[in-house]
């Protein structure tokens, strides 16, 4: 009697597991084997930027009659997760893999194995180091985006003596370095210039940016120009600036082009942002894989998907679009 009960408990567990598996599989049965399979591996699942990238890839795959398999790392820096994703996709017979690498060097061996197995590998958004570790790269020219931000902040500042604070992302990050250096170039100063009165790493995180800005405002109250690695960092910094009653005295520049960021520009919290086009990266990537599957043509080199300065306070001599245009072209949902 007892025996039966124990047995059934264990088996209920096993059956539930089986049920979960079956549930997971029902969505994907019956896919034809001739379909071109395209793999997409983003850094994480948790950022609307990558959601946009993925939705655009899915839409393009549907249009081209390809099947998209989307996987992601579990967190920024999850090399193991991305390597496993590459291996599993190759095992599944994808024609091409689109990847936004978590570390520009950590996944290189897995990428090489995939390419040796005849899979075309394209980096989206973030280049690998060296860049030719992949067949091609579709990404924003982050240096150019940084230059746009720097030129605008400098222009908006006018004749005031600049006191610049830089809220960086992650030290050593490829994108971070390009944006940072681009900003300095556009602004017309160099690393270590006396105009730079503060510099903090925020990991592009709103909370960390707020804390960093609170501390900087204590240390360097005279700051009037702010570089931010992305819009969440800008939003966090604005919180701190507003709390210190300095809201209209500091010119804030940013990069990304999320709908939340554009809304912040419209509301006057951020002065200007530089919009990127993740959807374009994904579309071009999927098209390139489908083309490779059809006629064997491999994409190559670095392909700039462009960026656009968006502000409602245009600076003379600097091409920009207003927030109405930004709302039409941004990614993600405002307020999320």
């Amino acid at each position: 009697m007892f025996g039966k009960r124990h047995t059934s408990t264990q088996l209920v567990g096993a059956a539930l597991v089986a049920g979960t598996l079956v549930l997971g599989l029902t969505g994907c049965g019956g896919s034809g084997s001739d379909e071109v399979k395209v793999g997409l591996i983003t850094k994480t699942d948790s950022n609307p930027y990558f959601v946009k990238l993925r939705e655009a890839a899915q839409a393009q795959a549907d249009k081209d009659g390809a099947k998209l398999i989307a996987l992601a790392g579990a967190f920024d820096g999850d090399n193991e997760g991305q390597v496993a994703a590459i291996e599993n996709m190759v095992g599944q017979g994808v024609k091409g893999i689109l990847i936004t690498p978590n570390s520009s060097t950590g996944v290189l061996d897995a990428i090489k194995k995939a390419r040796d197995a005849g899979v075309v590998v394209i980096a989206l958004d973030t280049a690998t180091d060296p860049e030719d570790a992949v067949d091609a790269t579709f990404a924003t020219d982050n240096k150019a985006a940084g230059v746009s931000q720097g030129k605008w902040v400098k222009g908006a500042l006018g004749t005031a003596a600049p006191q610049v604070v830089m809220l960086d992302g992650t030290p050593g990050g490829t994108v971070d370095t390009f944006r940072h250096d681009g900003f300095l170039e556009g602004f017309g100063i160099a690393n270590g210039s006396p105009e730079i009165v503060g510099q903090e790493n925020t990991n592009g995180d709103q909370t960390k940016a707020q804390t960093a800005m609170e501390n900087i405002l204590q240390r360097a109250p005279g700051i009037n120009a702010l570089y931010t690695i992305n819009e969440p960092a800008a939003a966090g910094a604005y919180q701190a600036i507003q709390a210190a009653n300095r809201a209209n005295q500091i010119t804030i520049g940013s990069i990304d082009g999320s709908c939340t960021g554009i809304a912040d520009v419209k509301a006057g919290k951020i002065g200007a942002t530089v919009l990127q086009f993740p959807a374009k990266m994904a579309e071009l990537g999927v098209q390139a894989v489908v083309k490779f599957a059809k006629d064997g043509t491999k994409p190559s080199g670095f392909n700039d998907t462009g960026s656009q300065l968006v502000t409602d306070k245009p600076v003379a001599g600097l091409e920009s679009k207003d927030t109405a245009w930004g709302e039409q072209n941004c990614w993600g949902k405002a307020g999320s």
Partner: protein, 335 residues
């Protein structure tokens, strides 16, 4: 497309098992439930995908399981003593940075030695706080996890270090047995399991570990030096973390302070799915190996089937809860 076959699988398993096993066996063998789940998962995936069971893919699943699989052995030891180790992954990541940096200064063998030393010291710190100060392992390892993670970034200067091929990446080297190609990392993982299985089931030390976890008062009364046994468990876990660090550099020859952030939790997942009781004293490394493989099979199989990442995590989450529920029921019935 083949929902018919998997649906039939559990019921076939039901009849064969219920005829052969009774409650006593199930309680003594917490391994059985996970094993059934693993077999079912394999049956389902091989019916969905032709390539699932080919040797290359099986080898992949094993390679992808190596790091968390090794860490899970250490986690099993701690959980058997009714503790938990939230720091084990962070210790291993710290180990990879030490290994990469000291290799540049003094060669691979100094690197391996210093990594072992550092990881054992971290084990001793955890063990010392748990035994000498009688602090709860959850809190101790939460503290050391937080501190070690920060120390890792300080040590690495938030940079990643590429490791040159050689002794440090040896565990990533592959070799063939017939048509089956696998890495020395996989062999190392299996060896770690074998050694710990032997130590736990065939030695007095192993019996003491179970006794301390199952009932510390009773084991004290019976003359076992509980605190000494506990401390040895944390030291051993340090050694295992060092082996995991070595295996990690074999798998990805890049020491990255941001890597393996979820390894702590993933190792706990493997242990729990493997049927080891969080209340201590019940379970073993055999179950953990099965638990590790279940997680690996799920991830690989669901990818092969084209299932999205987040659904894979939902499946793993459900499994954890099911496993704990099964353990609870088994304990309640046995009381």
């Amino acid at each position: 497309m083949s929902t018919g076959a998997p649906a039939a699988a559990p019921s076939t398993a039901t009849s064969s098992i219920s005829s052969r096993f009774n409650a006593r066996n199930l309680l003594r063998e917490p391994l059985l439930g996970p094993l059934v789940a693993l077999v079912i998962a394999i049956v389902i995936f091989s019916s969905v995908s032709n390539s699932f069971l080919n040797p290359q893919n099986v080898s992949l699943i094993l390679q992808q399981s190596v790091v968390v699989g090794i860490l899970a052995v250490g986690q099993t030891l701690i959980i058997l003593t009714s503790g938990i180790d939230l720091s084990i992954g962070a210790v291993a990541v710290f180990g990879t940075i030490v290994m990469a940096q000291s290799a540049g200064a003094g060669g691979p063998f100094l690197a391996l030695g210093s990594t072992l030393l550092v990881c054992v010291v971290f084990g001793a710190v955890n063990g010392g706080l748990v035994t000498a100060l009688r602090l709860p392992p959850f809190i101790v390892t939460l503290g050391t996890f937080t501190a070690i993670q920060a120390a890792t970034r300080l040590l690495a200067g938030s940079e990643t270090y590429r490791v040159e091929p050689g002794a440090l990446t040896f565990l990533g080297t592959s070799f063939r047995i017939g048509s089956f190609s696998t890495t020395y990392g996989v062999v190392t993982m299996l060896l770690v399991y074998l050694v710990m299985w032997y130590a736990l089931s065939q030695t007095a030390w192993g019996k003491h570990v179970y006794a301390v976890g199952g009932n510390p008062q009773a084991s004290n009364l019976s003359g076992i030096k509980s605190q000494r046994v506990l401390f040895s468990v944390y030291l051993t876990t340090g050694v295992i973390a060092a082996i995991a660090a070595w295996a990690a550099l074999g798998r990805i020859p890049n020491a990255d302070p941001n890597a393996y952030q979820n390894a702590n939790l993933e190792s706990i997942t493997a242990v729990v799915i493997g049927g080891t009781s969080l209340f201590g004293g019940r379970g073993g490394v055999g179950g953990t190996l099965v638990g590790t493989l279940i997680v690996g099979v799920l991830r690989n199989g669901l990818t092969q089937a084209g299932v999205d990442n987040l659904y894979q995590n939902i499946a793993t989450g459900v499994l954890v809860i099911v496993a704990v529920a099964v353990d609870q029921f088994a304990r309640r019935r046995s009381q």
